[in-house]
Point group: C2
Chain length 154, copies 2
DNA sequence: AGTGAAACTCGCCGTCC
DNA sequence: GGACGGCGAGTTTCACT
């Protein structure tokens, strides 16, 4: 893996805010022509710095206004059980993020859903159906204060 | 707010996976020509269903391999203190997400950072500097099991 | 709401420095 | 590593349905 120069970093900073910016526009801001900027973007893509380009939607308009964080602890910690859990979580479309955590709780899930009854149904009929789950502890988001998809690029 | 038909939903589902898909490609999949698809996308953008288009980067390659969740409780809950906290959090680029929570803990922060010493420095010299913070409780992500930016579109 | 085509701009590639 | 130029492809708009 090679090092990124300042031009690369500027390109990444801009693209993670606005993926629709044209190469021409980027070139203008960088004081370059289209070609080198085009080549740099392709390089950043193929080296894996850019994972994908996505549209970020408005969850409130999509009838998914409720967000909860659910802490999951497993009953037993056999490798097979853990892997099974991770596999099942991938299939649940309500689960947007899932992390294996250090500490008392095994997994932290971020879940988007439309209403409290739906959440009840989700926990009862989907999440709790996964084998070997010990305890569940859900806390609800009252307000989203900050939510970016970008990273701080040093 | 008007209702979305199935064509709109299909467009949103595809765009939140891949923002670079061409209108022509979309039109092909939907069995339509380019124009109506183009008009629908513009409509979805102006109605706010699509908030932005972004490049999702690889945090491991950006020297930000560590993710932590930090639970923050305030000492007092005066409106002014809370608003000051929310304002200060916006300025911290290490904080990718911040939620005001129901329950015992006031805020949940998702933080990306390069190393444990950097995290120590962040907590000590940036986070703890914000007025009126009571307790902090950080838990570390061992592994990201699932992380999508998309929502389930019913 | 959708079709089809025209006009314009940009992305992409080769060549040269 | 960057500049320049040309062709193909995508975007945007419009007249018609």
């Amino acid at each position: 893996m090679e090092h990124l120069d300042e031009t690369d970093k500027t390109i990444l900073r801009i693209l993670q805010q606005d993926a629709k910016v044209t190469t021409k526009e980027l070139a203008g801001r960088l004081g370059l022509t289209i070609s080198p900027v085009y080549e740099r973007i392709k390089r950043l893509e193929s080296l894996g710095y850019i994972r994908q380009y996505v549209a970020v939607l408005n969850k409130d308009l999509l009838s998914q206004p409720i967000t909860t964080f659910c802490q999951v602890s497993m009953r037993y910690h056999d490798k097979a059980f853990i892997e099974k859990f991770e596999e099942e979580i991938q299939k649940l479309e309500e689960v947007q993020e899932c992390y294996h955590m250090a500490g008392e709780v095994d997994f932290l899930l971020k879940i988007n859903i439309g209403s409290l009854p739906e959440y009840h149904d989700f926990v009862r009929n989907k999440l709790s159906k996964i084998e070997n789950i010990g305890t569940l502890n859900s806390t609800f988001v009252l307000k989203e204060i900050k939510h970016t998809t970008g990273y701080h690029i040093a």
